[in-house]
Every structure is written in structure tokens, then in C-alpha cells.
């Protein structure tokens, strides 16, 4: 068989630089074959090799007493007690979700699920962090609807509950959606499977869907390059999802793990067969040899190049104990799955690929999986922004417009209820979901057979990272941890998905470096190491980048699941307590307020800087709330974030199952808008039974956390008094109705442009 001659153009088409190509020749001691060129191009792509991000990722804290496995395997592993481990990770599927929203999002979920069960853990929950452009644009609308349907399609059919997430709508994500999917699984500590090929002569077994031509170059061409007008032509690169097949794969594999016949396993995700073979070989310090004619194929005439690069979904690669193959095949047959030996483990550290006996690729595994080039890309901050900050309305005008502005804020898609989205997800299958979407600040799951529970939240406000990357990233970690704490769980570890623009631009690389430093500091102070995650670069369309968007997936442990706290008010006549500071400084207030949701929705301003974060204070707050929960003083808890204090108070009413309201009194010399809608961090609202109020304030004082009672829960009415004057006094229903239906209404209103 003759392959195409390798030209400089072909090298460039593969996303490789001339220098990278020279290195390849040096490693091989010759010109690569076309198949080898394809293999290098995917393994050395940004998506697979992290070549631009590695030097910065090293600065993240990744170890701790509970961390059983940090970055480097298919997912992170955390000890959660009772002999159990949590396996979790978040990953992006941004570019495919732009090209084909439904399949892009669906296969994103499929991919992350495989990363979990490939380690021996049954997935028990999925969360998603989504970022879309404004919904009055028809294409953004199509993307949002397709993405949500795709996630629902995969999770629901596979049978894992989708229990939470977060969604932001910003102009920068217009035609540049972010779809980050997080999955969590549970496994006994001593039954964790790693992806390290060992045992010379052990069979390499392929199981799952047949290989086709879908998704070829998904890693190198989709995930490692920007979009332009020709992007629709990338549709053939998007993978196609089959969650039913993945469900069969899950059940068969979990049974197979029990046999003890499996040595190592890895799923075939980005870069398919190429990635799974060389990574397992590299980690195990061994080599792998495979014969392509044995690979189950669903298309005719596939070339070695195509077979090695295909990203057909729902496929796994196993290393089994020699002699026990038939045991495994019988199991896979029972579940109706194709399984076949396609090769064996060797001891020469090479990935050797044969087609009909003839060698078409012969590359050292470490060269592919570990020795990809490392780039120290230039870093330079952007020029100073000339910007217009918010000018607070005078007191009288602000007071007059408050109720209406509050309703406008509640109706804005980022702040509004996401019920339209999460009701499409099965959130209760497997009967572990104690606090479902919309009930609390984090999803809470029980662990059957124990008294414990787990909490999970995803957060990542890109706007604050755009305005100040270091602070914004620390705020994201703090918010994710605070959300977990609000349910009564102690944050223990985090996964991260870093979504950025083009790393070849110094200011993007500067954002990345700053974000890493912000995350690192926050993770250290809050005691939440990073166990792994994903980097997604090149999120730009027509040269315009998204906001730098680090998404943090925070895992927490509840010692007593019965103490899990929701965010909605539960009883009338309870005290409403604010833990954390209320701003008192006039100076710099416009600057920090200009980063808030209120500023963009009401004033049309996005500028300034996010409010300052005191990490030690944040930690005190978390410890204080966890103690209050343990003592049983708190009935409900909710952190104040997007939309500020008033939105958080409103949400505690809207989420109340018995339609409770609130009567709160505030006072300040500062502008009323700043007090009610400023998004200062380190604040949690608590509902506390009156008999525990004094003790609650005492405990807060012990932790040096500012605490004050704002008011009481009532029935049906939402009333706010500020500086002695009643600013709001209306039925909870009148606000709840706006908040609950806003998203559905916007999706049904006529769109601005046809796309």
C-alpha cells in the first residue's frame, strides 16, 4: 500500500509546526509514515498533550491526605471514608458543541462517563457547566437547546442522574459555547483500576462499538484550533453518540472487573485507539503491538490512518491476564458486545501498528504520551482598558425603580431559574439524589449503606476572570467551596476545566497564568487540592476570545446525610441571618459594583474589577457554617452570589416548598443598589430557628465571622425595608413567577436573527 508523500502542507494541515515535525524525524530517525504523522498530530495536539498549559498547571496543588490519585490518570480519586473512594473529573466538549450541539454535548457526557467507569467506578452523578451567548440570537438559541437535549439524551438513556450545574449567558460565548461535563462515580478503595499496561504477552482486547470514520481529527482539528466561516465543514469531525451501547459497556465492564482477569483498561476518547494504546504503554513502561485487520469496523475500506484516528464512541481497550480471554469474551457476549483480541503487550516501549502483518507505525510510546513538546508561550497582560464604570442612581431614583429593576434582574437568563433546563434531565434515577437541581446550592447524594453523603457544585464566573483573572479564579474556587458548605458538606477536593482563547496570543496566556495562580492560592487556603481536569484552548470565533473561564467542580463530604441543608425557607417565624460582611467602604464601590449582574442588566456596564476576596475569612466562614450545621442550628442555607443579597433572599423564598416569604430590614450610608445587589464574596444566608439565634451569633463570633439578623421568614410576602423605608412589599408569587418562567419565555419569544 502506498501512502501519500509528506509535504510541508500536509504537516501544517495536521496542526504540526515545522519544528515539531523536525523533532518527530529526530525521534524516529527517519521520515514518519502518514499513519505515524496522524498519530503524532493527535497526541501532540494541544487537547491531548497540554503543551501550552503544562508549565503552568504544575503550580496547582494536587496532593493531600485524602487524595488517592491526582492528575495523570483517567480521573481523580478521593478517599471519602467507609472504605470508599470517589472518582470524578470534568471535561470540555466545546468545539463539537458549536459544530453540532446535540451530538457534541451528548458525546461530551459519554466521554466523561467512560473516564469514570474505566477506573472501576459506577457513575452516580453528572453535572454540567454551560456557557451560551444571548438567547435573542437564533443560532445561540439553537446551540442552547441542542446542548441541553444532547446532555439529557445521553444521561437519561445511560441511566445516570444529572443533578446540577451552572449556566451563564454572556455575549463573549456567542457562537462559542462552553460545555463542560462532570461525572462522579463510587468504588471501593481497593478496587480502583488504573490504565497501566503490564505483563508481556498479555492480550490487548478491544470492546464496544465498531470503528467508523466519525470524529477523525476531533482532537487536533476541532479542539486545537479556532473557528471561522468555514467551520460548518467540520461537521464530519463530530462524534456520534450511542448511550445505550455505553450502558451495556458499563454493566459488562463492571462485571468483568469482578473476575480479576483485567490488568488495565482505558477508554477510547480523544484520539481513540492511538491515545489508549500509547498512554497505557507509556504509563506501564511497556509497549503495545496491535493488528488493525482485527479491529471491528463498520465502514468499508478504512485505512490504518483512519482506524488509528477514529473517535467513534463507546469503545474501551483492555489489557487482560493471558489465558483468561475467553472468560471475558463470554461476559461481553452476554451483554451483546463485540470483543476481540487485537494485540499484545510487549517490552520494547513501542506502539507498533500492523495492518495485514505489515508495520504501518512504530513509535516509542513515551514520545507520544509524555514527551510532547512543552511550550513556554509568551505571557503579557492586555493594555489598560478605558472603561466607563457604573454611576449609582441617586437614592430617591434607586428606591423608586427598585422593584422593577429587581424583576428585570430576576428575568435575566443568568440569574433566572434554570428549571427549563434541568427538568429535561432525569435527576433521581438510582435513588441517591437527596437534594436535586434547584433545591440547594450544591447537589447532594446519599451513599447507600453508610450514613454519609456527597455534595457537588460547579462554578466559574468568566466575567470576573476577564476583569481580573487572578482574583476571578480565586473567587470561582471560593464560590464552589461555599456552595458545597451551604449544604452542610466539607469541601475536600476539586476538578477543573480551564476554558480559554488562543494560547498563541500573549494576553490569553497571561490570563491562563494568572488564573492558575489565583486557583492555586485559593485551593491551598481552602484545603481543596486539584485532582485533575481538562484544558480547552482556542475558544475563539473570528479572532474574538471568550472570557477566561475556569470552571471548578467541587466535591464535599457530609458526615451525616440527614443533616443535608436545602436553600429554601422551611418554617415561618425563623430568623434570617447573614454571615459575612456587608460593604462599608465607599471608596472603590463603583469599581467593584461594575462587575455585577445588576450592572450589566440594568446599567449595561461590564467593567471594573470583582470585589476583593479574603481567603482566610472565607475559610472561617466555611468552618463556622459547618459547625452550625453539625449542631443542628441551621434550617436552610444559601450563599449570596449572582444578583447579590436581594436575589439570594428572594431565592430562599422561591425555593421554599411551602411558599414562605421574608421580612428584612437593612440600613447603610452606601448606595442602596450596592448593598442589595453587590456581589461581595464570603457571604452565606442562614435560616435559623429563633431558639438557636443567640447561639448562632455566638458561634459566628468565635469564628470571627460577621453575623447579623436581617429579619424573619413570613408567609407569602416579600418585604424589604432599607434605612427605615419600605422598598419592596409584594407577594412572593409575583417575583417567583418572573424568576421561574423567564428562561422558557425567552426561548419562545421571536429571535433576532436567522442563522
Amino acid at each position: 500500500m502506498t501512502e501519500a508523500a509528506i509535504t510541508a502542507e500536509l504537516v501544517a494541515e495536521h496542526g504540526l509546526t515545522p519544528e515539531e515535525y523536525a523533532r518527530i524525524k529526530e525521534i524516529l530517525g527517519r521520515e514518519p509514515t502518514l499513519t505515524e504523522l496522524g498519530i503524532f498530530s493527535v497526541m501532540w495536539s494541544e487537547h491531548c498533550s497540554y503543551k501550552s498549559s503544562k508549565v503552568h498547571l504544575r503550580r496547582l496543588p494536587t496532593s493531600g491526605p485524602r487524595i488517592l490519585q491526582g492528575p495523570g490518570e483517567n480521573a481523580g480519586v478521593v478517599d471519602i471514608g467507609d472504605g470508599l473512594a470517589a472518582v470524578f473529573k470534568i471535561e470540555s466538549h466545546n468545539h463539537p458543541s458549536f459544530v453540532e450541539p446535540f451530538q457534541g454535548a451528548a458525546t461530551g457526557v459519554g466521554g466523561i462517563l467512560r473516564d469514570i467507569f474505566t477506573m472501576g467506578a459506577r457513575p452516580i452523578a453528572v453535572l454540567d457547566a454551560l456557557r451560551f451567548g444571548p438567547l435573542d440570537d437564533a443560532k445561540n438559541r439553537r446551540i442552547a437547546e441542542g446542548v441541553v437535549s444532547g446532555i439529557a439524551f445521553y444521561g437519561n438513556c445511560f441511566g445516570v442522574p444529572t443533578v446540577g450545574g451552572d449556566v451563564y449567558f454572556e455575549p463573549c460565548y456567542s457562537h462559542n459555547p462552553l460545555v463542560n461535563a462532570l461525572a462522579l462515580g463510587i468504588v471501593p478503595r481497593d478496587k480502583i483500576f488504573l490504565a497501566r499496561a503490564r505483563g508481556v504477552g498479555n492480550p490487548v482486547i478491544y470492546v464496544g462499538a465498531k470503528t467508523g470514520r466519525d470524529g477523525i481529527h476531533g482532537a487536533s482539528l476541532l479542539a486545537s484550533a479556532e473557528f471561522d466561516e468555514a467551520s460548518a465543514a467540520k461537521r464530519p469531525n463530530v462524534q456520534i453518540a450511542d448511550p445505550f451501547l455505553e450502558k451495556l459497556l458499563l454493566e459488562a465492564l463492571l462485571e468483568a472487573f469482578e473476575t480479576g482477569a483485567i490488568v488495565a483498561v482505558q477508554d477510547m476518547g480523544a484520539a481513540g485507539l492511538t491515545c489508549s494504546t500509547c498512554e497505557m504503554g507509556a504509563r506501564g513502561g511497556t509497549g503495545i503491538e496491535i493488528e488493525l485487520s482485527r479491529v471491528p469496523q463498520r465502514e468499508q475500506g478504512m485505512t490504518p490512518y483512519e482506524i488509528m484516528l477514529s473517535e467513534s464512541q463507546e469503545r474501551m481497550l483492555l489489557i487482560a491476564e493471558r489465558g483468561r480471554e475467553e472468560e471475558l469474551f463470554a461476559l461481553f457476549r452476554k451483554w451483546g458486545l463485540d470483543a476481540v483480541t487485537i494485540g499484545q503487550v510487549t517490552d520494547d516501549g513501542k506502539l507498533r501498528v500492523r495492518d495485514g502483518g505489515q508495520v504501518v507505525a512504530d513509535v516509542p510510546t513515551t514520545a507520544l504520551a509524555q514527551d510532547a513538546p512543552t511550550y513556554h508561550r509568551p505571557v503579557a497582560p492586555p493594555p489598560e482598558r478605558a472603561e466607563k464604570l457604573v454611576e449609582f442612581a441617586n437614592d430617591a431614583r434607586a428606591r423608586r425603580g427598585l422593584a422593577e429593576n429587581f424583576r428585570r434582574l430576576l428575568a435575566s437568563p443568568t440569574v433566572a431559574s434554570k428549571r427549563w433546563i434541568y427538568q429535561q434531565y432525569d435527576h433521581s434515577v438510582r435513588t441517591n439524589t437527596v437534594l436535586p437541581p434547584g433545591a440547594a446550592d450544591a447537589a447532594v447524594l446519599r451513599l447507600k449503606g453508610t450514613t454519609r453523603g456527597l455534595a457537588l457544585a460547579v462554578d466559574g464566573n468568566g466575567r470576573t476572570c476577564y476583569l481580573n483573572p487572578r482574583r476571578g479564579a480565586a473567587l470561582a474556587v471560593a464560590e464552589a467551596a461555599r456552595n458545597v458548605v451551604s449544604t452542610g458538606a466539607r469541601p475536600v477536593a476539586a476538578t477543573n476545566c480551564l476554558n480559554f482563547g488562543n494560547p498563541e496570543k500573549p494576553e490569553i496566556m497571561w490570563q491562563f497564568s494568572e488564573v492558575i495562580d489565583g486557583m492555586a492560592e485559593a485551593c491551598r487556603v481552602l484545603g481543596t487540592p486539584i485532582t485533575g481536569g481538562n484544558v480547552s484552548f482556542y475558544n475563539e470565533t473570528l479572532g474574538k476570545a471568550i472570557y477566561p473561564t475556569p470552571v471548578i467542580g467541587m466535591l464535599g463530604v457530609l458526615e451525616d446525610i440527614e443533616r443535608a441543608l436545602g436553600a429554601g425557607f422551611r418554617r415561618k417565624g425563623s430568623a434570617i441571618v447573614l454571615l459575612g460582611p456587608v460593604p462599608v467602604e465607599r471608596e472603590g464601590l463603583e469599581r467593584s459594583f461594575s462587575s455585577s449582574q445588576y450592572a450589566s442588566v440594568i446599567y449595561g456596564v461590564t467593567a471594573g474589577e470583582p470585589p476583593a476576596l479574603d481567603l482566610k475569612l472565607e475559610k472561617h466562614l466555611h468552618d463556622c457554617v459547618l459547625e452550625l450545621v453539625q449542631r443542628g442550628y441551621a434550617l436552610a442555607a444559601h450563599d449570596a452570589s449572582d444578583g447579590g443579597l436581594l436575589t439570594a433572599l428572594g431565592e430562599m423564598c422561591f425555593l421554599s416548598e411551602t411558599g414562605l416569604g421574608a421580612m428584612v430590614t437593612l440600613g447603610s450610608k452606601l448606595p442602596v443598589e450596592a448593598i442589595l445587589f453587590g456581589e461581595e464574596p464570603s457571604r452565606i444566608l442562614l435560616e435559623v430557628d429563633e431558639v438557636h439565634l443567640a447561639d448562632t451569633l455566638r458561634v459566628a463570633a468565635q469564628y470571627r465571622v460577621a453575623a447579623r439578623q436581617l429579619g424573619w421568614t413570613t408567609v407569602g410576602d416579600f418585604r424589604v425595608v432599607f434605612n427605615g423605608e419600605t422598598l419592596l412589599d409584594d407577594s412572593v408569587q409575583s417575583f417567583a413567577e418572573v424568576w421561574a418562567n423567564a428562561l422558557a419565555r425567552q426561548l419562545q419569544a421571536p429571535a433576532r436573527s436567522a442563522a
Partner: protein, 233 residues
């Protein structure tokens, strides 16, 4: 007294049903593989929810041809109790063990939320421990839960007291709107039984409302009724 929970390729709620029967109610419960035909030693078969065969072609359309379904037909003909939940109900409809069919929800989307079911008759082994008119808060999670049947069938169902559950308001009123009857089922029918009253299908998931931590225990009465009825036999 033994329960059996069937596993089809793609069943997802099998573990949940097993958990309620085996762990919550302490009843001897077995797994029944879709290719098995040996179920005569069991007293009650549960066809669980999920996406059997990926919902390919139509929900339940392929599962109804499994070897186990032949055995279930014989089992039902001999008076064995059969409970079909969600996809299980769809399979019973496709197999002709219950009359009617399911189509897409009125909102055309998958929907996961609590609904309220009114108990229409306690004259079944599945509702014997409930009260007529009792309202049960139980979740749904489906895309195709819109029950349809022709007029003649519905008349027969009503005449023979075969409509076991209807979607209602928390106060027990029959209202046909998105809030109360979110999938748009004809006559608010949420669950029904066969003429012999030993086969029941319902779209909501009682196994997801059988423990306090799950937000409602109203679903437990269905399983308790089964246990009570089997003990009485």
C-alpha cells in the same frame, strides 16, 4: 413470597426497584435476566424503568420480544402479579398485556419532576393498602408518557374499574393542564390494570418515593399493597 426484577439491556431503574423490595421492605428478591424463562417460582414480577434497547424503534417495542416476556405472559395468565413501571409499563403495552399506547409528552420534552397520583380503586393487589381518593406524590421521568387509547377502550377501562391512578392536583382534583397532567395523558390516566387485575402499569416511579430522604414516601404503599396481597394468598 418472592419478587423478581427483570433486567433488559438498557434497564436503568432495576437497582432502584430491587433496593425498595429487598432492602427497604426486606422481601426476598431475585434478578431475572431478559433471556430467562424460569420465573414460575416467583410471586410477583417487576418490569423496571429505563431505556430498554435504547428505546430504539419505539419505547418497549423490542423488549416485548424477549424470551422473558413470553414467560411473563404465561405467568400473568396463571394469575402471577406483574408490575410495570415507566418503561416497564411501555413494554406491557407493546406486549398487549395492557391496552393502549404511549406517545410523546405534550411538551415534547423529557420531563423529570414530582406529580400527584390519585388512587382511583383499591380493588387491586397494588393498591389494597391505600385509600380510595388518596393522593400520592411520586416523580415522573420520561419523554413518552402520554397515554392514548381509542374511545371504546377507555369506556371498557372505566366500566371495569381498570383505571387505577389518575394525575391530579395535590388536593385530588382532576385538571388537564401542564402542571397537573404534564405528559398530557388521556383522561389523566397515570396507571391501569388488566381485566383480571393482576397486571398493573404506571408511568411514575414509586420506587423513587419510598424513603424519606427521597422527598416522599407515598410510593411505598404500592409495594406494601403487593406484600399484603401476597401474604393473604
Amino acid at each position: 413470597m418472592k419478587f423478581g426484577v427483570v433486567i433488559f439491556p438498557g434497564s436503568n431503574c432495576d437497582h432502584d426497584a430491587f433496593h425498595v423490595l429487598n432492602t427497604v421492605l426486606g422481601q426476598p428478591t431475585e434478578w431475572v435476566w431478559h433471556q430467562s424463562t424460569d420465573i414460575s417460582h416467583l410471586d410477583c414480577i417487576v418490569l423496571p424503568g429505563g431505556f430498554s434497547y435504547g428505546d430504539y424503534l419505539r419505547t418497549g417495542a423490542i423488549a416485548r420480544f424477549s424470551p422473558v416476556m413470553k414467560a411473563v405472559e404465561k405467568f400473568a395468565a396463571r394469575g402471577g402479579l406483574v408490575l410495570g413501571i415507566c418503561n416497564g409499563f411501555q413494554i406491557l403495552l407493546e406486549a398487549g398485556l395492557l391496552p393502549g399506547a404511549m406517545v410523546r409528552n405534550r411538551g415534547l420534552k423529557f420531563l423529570c419532576r414530582f406529580v400527584h397520583l390519585r388512587v382511583e380503586t383499591t380493588n387491586t393487589p397494588f393498591t389494597a393498602a391505600a385509600r380510595k381518593g388518596q393522593v400520592l406524590k411520586i416523580p415522573i421521568a420520561h419523554m413518552d408518557g402520554n397515554y392514548r387509547a381509542d374511545e371504546a377502550t377507555v369506556r371498557e377501562l372505566e366500566r371495569h374499574d381498570q383505571i387505577v391512578f389518575r394525575y391530579a392536583t395535590p388536593a385530588g382534583e382532576l385538571v388537564d393542564d401542564e402542571e397537573t397532567n404534564p405528559n398530557g395523558s388521556l383522561a389523566n390516566i397515570g396507571g391501569l390494570c388488566n381485566r383480571e387485575r393482576n397486571v398493573l402499569g404506571l408511568m411514575p416511579h414509586p420506587e423513587r418515593a419510598s424513603e424519606p430522604l427521597m422527598g416522599s414516601t407515598d410510593g411505598l404503599v404500592i409495594f406494601q399493597s403487593l406484600v399484603q396481597s401476597l401474604v393473604a394468598r
